[in-house]
Amino acid sequence: MRYRRPLLALTALATLAACGGGADAANDGDGGNPVKGGTLRIAFWDDAQGCIDPNQVYWIESRSLNRQFADSLTDQDPETGKIVPWLAESWEVNDDATSYTFKLRDDVTFSDGTKFDAAAVKTAYDATHALGAKSLLGLTYTAGYKSTEVVDDYTVKVDFDQPNSAFLQASSTTTLAILSPETYRQTPEERCTGDNLVGTGAFTLDSYTAATEAKLSRRDGYAWPSELIENQGDAYLDAIEVSYIKEDSVRVGSLTSGAIDIAWPRLPISEADQKVIEATGAGIESRSLPGISSSYFPNVGAGKPLADVKVRQALQKSIDRKSYASTVFWDGYPVVSGPFDNTTPYATDSSGVLAYDPEGAKALLDEAGWTAGADGYRAKDGEPLTLTIPAQNTTPGDQLVQDQLKQVGIKVELNVLTLAQYQAAAADGDYDLLATYYTRADPSVLGSVLDSGVSQAGTAQLSQDPATKKEISGLFAEGLQDVAEDKRAGTYADLQKLILEQGVMFPLYERVQTAGVASKVHGFAWTSEAFLRANDIWISQ
């Protein structure tokens, strides 16, 4: 029996389309028929991890490259979150999500000529799991991994010793991409350098120099893309060349002067730069990164102001997320509407709970015994209401929050620290609010930040009182057991409601990826996790 997820309606997609800007100008449709040939030159902002092994990488930009040369068992529809067949034709999941049986395609080869089969999948999954903490993402994706069994040449059975209903989505990620068995003879460090990374992708990785450049070229005879890809054969591009340009103005100028075809920074391209880019006829493509929205997590330890749920609820109401989006970014930038960015499957729209309500916040603070003093800040028993937020640098957004909270009488101290001090502060709970986020197109991702039963991180251990911890851990465990679509949806809806109402998390903004795309580039597409999909890209002459 083939198990398929029903369509997921993502209410927020309309918002997303609205911030697409001139996306259409750079998309297919008005560019005529695709032509073969040409080199696509992409400039990212940085390559701090310095690793190109899909199984180990967490760096977003590297994963965009991974997707071009390494395929996975399944693929995920960016619009619905639905998991669709790719290197696996079909699959079955047992009732408690502890066993997955994948039926594989039998016509796939690695770029070194080796056959793709069940043994190759076993080698890849075992090796990825063996990476342990070297693969931060792999660690959570394969939580509870027991073994992969070769049932026959083209059937594998992946077993877990605890429920992991998120594994099906994990099997679509670059992290669980399948490389050739030969590749895994190298040490993890050797694989990072990308000298001999062999996948089944539409491109091959020719060379990679950390933080400097990467070169990929088309693989001829590619015939096994997922149904999400229009072009079912060889890619159109001859090659992809990647460079890293740190300076925003240089990256934008390189695009507008034609030295590169795609300018792809991590932070959204500023409104001013977007205008410059669009003035040359180029377009701006954008998509929210699925996963945890950029949020603050509280420290509710004894004696801390946020130990009181009323203060946390007041804080939830004191943040004006609409003006954050339009001030820090631009008018029309999607406003965060829950714990997840709107591209995450099972994300619920919680705009109601997150509505800006300074009067309500003041009333709650009064009730909690924090009264306004002469300087406008509130105090209780002579103690001022001060929240400390550690940061490695302060952004205009931080200062805006500082100002917004001042309106209701909460004083924010931005504590600028070096990386080392920051890590120490986070570990010791030396903060009131800690900012973090995480990318993954599955709601279980929140568990790695909030589930105290799984994670030892401060965001999990310090953000909830014991009773809430129990409730939240229970819901996360339930979510990982649920195989049925509607049950999963129900569990994660309850979880999101609980988290926001209890003030366990304070969403701040959607994390939107933007890319400036030259007018001669057509067919630009995002993967579900907002990485590049180059199969359909072609360049008009």
Partner: protein, 326 residues
Amino acid sequence: MTSVKWLTSSTARYLAGRVLQAVIVLWAVYTVTFGILYLLPSDPVELQLAAANVQVDELSPAELAAAKQQYGLDQPLATQYFDQLGGLLRGDFGQSISLHRPVGELLAERLPSTLALGATAIGLALVLGGTLAYLAAYVRVAWLKTVLNRLPAVGVSLPPFFVGLLLIQVFAFELGWFPATGTQGASSLVLPAITMAVPTAAMLAQVLTRSLDDQLAEPYVATAAARGLSRQYVQARHALRNALLPTLTLLGLLLGATVTEAVVAETVFSRPGVGQMAQQAVLAQDVPLVQAIVVLAAAVFVVINLLIDLVYPLFDPRITHTPRVS
């Protein structure tokens, strides 16, 4: 003639002393760097694990011990110190934690580009600074002299990243004469080299103008002029030679600063070189890599200043390297 005097046995003894001195300086640099990096209040183990993207939170005690062992961090501090020092002496710089490759290999890969950039920049700075100073001393039109005298102050005050971005905007994006990024071919050297040369040239010009003016006020200049030599000849042959010494000293310091200047130029122009790598290594807290770059920069500095000391007698025969008689 001078060169014969230069190579006497006393010079050899001087040289040996200086080399010993250089070795001590390098050892001190290594030790201080090691101390700073390891004696920081933070846990070096966690820092290095963080640099390697290993999350301490996620590790069990056994895994943590294994991770420490992998990076040699389970050894006592003294053992680590001597192991790394020994490795350095053998030319083994260890393994970069953030880039997953031997440090020696990384340096070998990135040094050529930085050396080419540094050499071009210094050459350019010498030509620009020298010409400016020479003209400033030679010109007799008062307002022009003032302008030429003030120019270096402007050059020193301009922040290099601003100069770099301005050059990119005009010469790469508007005019399209030179590439804005990368290391392809000699044309990619031009803009970053100018960026680095501007402050260096300005400092050289300031010092050289000043010493030229001083020299031109000396009585021997008047004597030479009285003997019928042209102003041009006196400035070029007599004054310039005497004025060069302070400039030469400064040049030694400026050459040593090339690595730090390269950090800015290489970042703005997206050139993968040692400077850019230094910046990344510091941000990633990649201790072995930072250490290797610091020691390398110190070695360059020490060697260049030694060479400059040795060259002094060529310019001024009064300076000898014979040890003083006690």
